[in-house]
């Protein structure tokens, strides 16, 4: 499929450049470059603003507000964050743990479920597919779900509740199922003749053949865990279980509380906390790994969207 796309794209380019030198085309391309540049800058500048603000001296922010280019550069916010990093490192630890465990288990369970649904000889596959799919059409809503978790399963303030809700996603199951349906059946047939069981076929044959879709869905799952704050907001009140995004959320909304906690823990002796630059520094710390990994992982997401788009 991907070779086909490249040839098509290549051909598109030839078709496009056949009229090179034509005024209307040059004009259009100029406009396209211009607008794309504007929109791209629009997407990028907010990140630059946050970065600059995190590196600006607090007194300068108080006086002039946040600015694109800092007038007085200072790393005091970062020094403070890294001087008493205990809470931040804990939050990092929780997020990394949740993301690693959730992605590993999520990927295993999603692919296993998808494999069964992709097996054309499995008599009840349509029934089970509908069982999963129906949950995207109708839901009991927030309240029964919340009460079930808090009052019946007693999962409030547990590590597990940060992992469980994002473990399965019907859309990911369906994308994987459609990928696995494209794997020639002859492969599984011959293994079956050699006496391999269903699980063995899945784990030894289908998994290695599904690497592209596993990489893509795995990254989608990992991004979902890394960015999750919602489940923490609903279910976590223990500071030791606060993931990174929720820690940032609390810091943005409750600088006074944060200040008191820092004073109580001896992190600062007086009330002089650069709270405005600190908020922005914490934002940078929270998105740092994503921004760092982004150039390398981006193409997998593009791949995933394209699979989804083809499927509809």
């Amino acid at each position: 499929m991907s070779t086909q796309r490249t040839t098509r794209a290549g051909a598109g380019q030839t078709a496009g450049s056949a009229g090179r030198g034509r005024a209307d085309k040059r004009l259009f391309q100029t406009i396209a470059y211009l607008l794309l540049s504007i929109v791209s800058l629009f997407c990028l500048i907010p990140f630059v603003l946050v970065l600059s603000a995190s590196l600006t001296k607090e007194s300068s922010i108080i006086e002039n507000g946040y600015q694109l280019i800092p007038t007085l550069i200072s790393t005091e916010a970062y020094s403070l964050l890294f001087k008493y990093p205990e809470q931040m490192l804990k939050a990092y630890g929780v997020t990394i743990g949740v993301t690693a465990l959730g992605t590993a288990f999520g990927l295993f369970l999603t692919s296993m479920t998808a494999y069964v649904l992709a097996r054309k000889d499995f008599k009840w596959r349509n029934g089970f597919s509908f069982f999963f799919f129906f949950t995207t059409l109708f839901s009991g809503g927030l309240v029964p779900w919340y009460l079930l978790i808090v009052n019946y399963l007693h999962l409030k303030d547990t590590f597990l509740i940060l992992v469980l809700p994002l473990l399965f996603n019907v859309f990911y199951i369906l994308v994987m199922k459609s990928f696995m349906s494209g794997i020639p059946e002859a492969i599984a047939e011959s293994a079956k003749i050699d006496g391999a069981g269903d699980f063995l076929i899945y784990s030894r044959l289908i998994i290695p053949l599904s690497k592209p879709v596993l990489a893509t869905i795995g990254l989608f799952i990992a991004l979902g865990y890394w960015n999750d704050w919602y489940n923490a907001m609903l279910f976590i009140s223990n500071d030791n279980l606060m993931p990174l995004q929720y820690y940032l959320y609390k810091m943005l909304g409750n600088m006074d509380g944060m200040r008191r906690a820092m004073i109580a823990s001896g992190a600062v002796v007086n009330l002089q906390i650069p709270s405005e630059s600190l908020k922005m520094a914490m934002t940078i710390v929270a998105i740092g790994p994503i921004l760092f990994a982004y150039p390398f992982i981006q193409r997998f997401f593009v791949q995933g969207l394209t699979i989804g788009a083809v499927k509809g």
Binding site: F132, T135, G140, N151, F168, L248, I287
Partner: protein, 306 residues
């Protein structure tokens, strides 16, 4: 033989069934049991009685929800925001996809695409932080610029009127990269012979786009828009909550069903009304998605959800 069919099959598929078990248990527990929990909407919740033991109170919860005046406000806001998002985001996504397709430089195409897609990767909490950086009354960049120009600062977080526009911009900012990649994939799939033929016939670039590219995108556009319409009563909680939070001054123009349900549950602990509102949303959502699917199905059977 046929009488034993089920057990025969169950035995035959035992490994496959076992492999499905985790998923089935998961959705049973976290989706189907809560579905049964919608009975809460018709009950007076008591902690001791729980979901199934609390006494019934008929339609009282719904009466309370509709009489509060919030029902109409949050329904209207949810639908109107989603309509605005669908229109603005799709128009921008298609435009960006066409631009990305038409520009000649491959390197530029990759750079632009990378930058457009960037906002998709950050959480709504981080978007909230960025919004604070821009909109804060005392320190916000926007006000810093306005003050620098000798103008009066604007109190964005206390003015409901700004928010419909702001939220549409923020939604587009985060979503357009994602959507334009889908449309770009659709454009790249268009048969190039059409472009070549148009070129020979002397079509200019504007004609190529309006007569070939856009008509060929219609199927994709129709499907994506119809599916989005199916979700018109589902608000993006993460966005609204991180942008607006519990700022009551802005509710008139920013409160959606999802934030209302959340607040009624967590802040007011009004389990009866929040489950009534949640049930109302589930039913509305279910009906609209069925209608949307019906529309997709009659347009193109293969692209329908079910």
């Amino acid at each position: 033989m046929k009488r034993y069919g089920f057990w025969h099959d169950a035995l035959k598929y035992r490994t496959l069934l076992l492999m499905l078990l985790p998923g089935v248990l998961f959705f049973m527990l976290f989706a189907y049991i809560p579905m049964a929990g919608v009975v809460l909407a018709f009950k007076q919740y008591t902690y001791d009685g729980g979901i199934f033991g609390s006494p019934w109170n008929g339609l009282d919860n719904f009466r309370f929800f509709f009489d509060s005046g919030s029902a109409w406000q949050v329904t209207r806001n949810t639908a109107l925001y989603n309509i605005a998002f669908i229109i603005v985001n799709n128009v921008l996504e298609i435009a960006m996809a066409i631009f990305l397709f038409e520009i000649a430089g491959r390197w530029f195409r990759r750079v632009f695409q990378t930058l457009l897609f960037l906002p998709y990767f950050i959480s709504w909490v981080v978007v909230g932080a960025i919004a604070y950086n821009l909109f804060s009354f005392d320190y916000g960049t926007i006000n810093a610029v306005l003050k620098g120009l000798g103008m009066e600062p604007v109190d964005i977080y206390n003015t409901a009127a700004y928010w419909p526009v702001l939220l549409v911009v923020v939604s587009a900012w985060k979503a357009v990269g994602y959507g334009s990649i889908m449309y770009l994939a659709a454009i790249t799939g268009i048969d190039t012979e059409m472009y070549e033929a148009a070129e020979i016939d002397g079509a200019n670039i504007w004609q190529r786009i309006t007569r070939i590219t856009i008509p060929n995108l219609y199927p994709t556009i129709i499907i994506l828009v119809l599916l989005a319409i199916g979700n018109i009563f589902r608000g993006d909680f993460g966005m609204f909550y991180n942008m607006v939070g519990n700022n009551g001054l802005l509710f008139a123009s920013t409160d959606v069903i999802d934030t209302f349900v959340f607040r009624s549950l967590i802040s007011s602990n009004d389990i009866g009304m929040s489950s009534a509102a949640g049930f109302y949303q589930s039913v509305l959502g279910f009906i609209t998605i069925l209608l949307a699917n019906y529309a997709v199905r009659s347009y193109d059977k293969d692209r329908a959800l079910f």
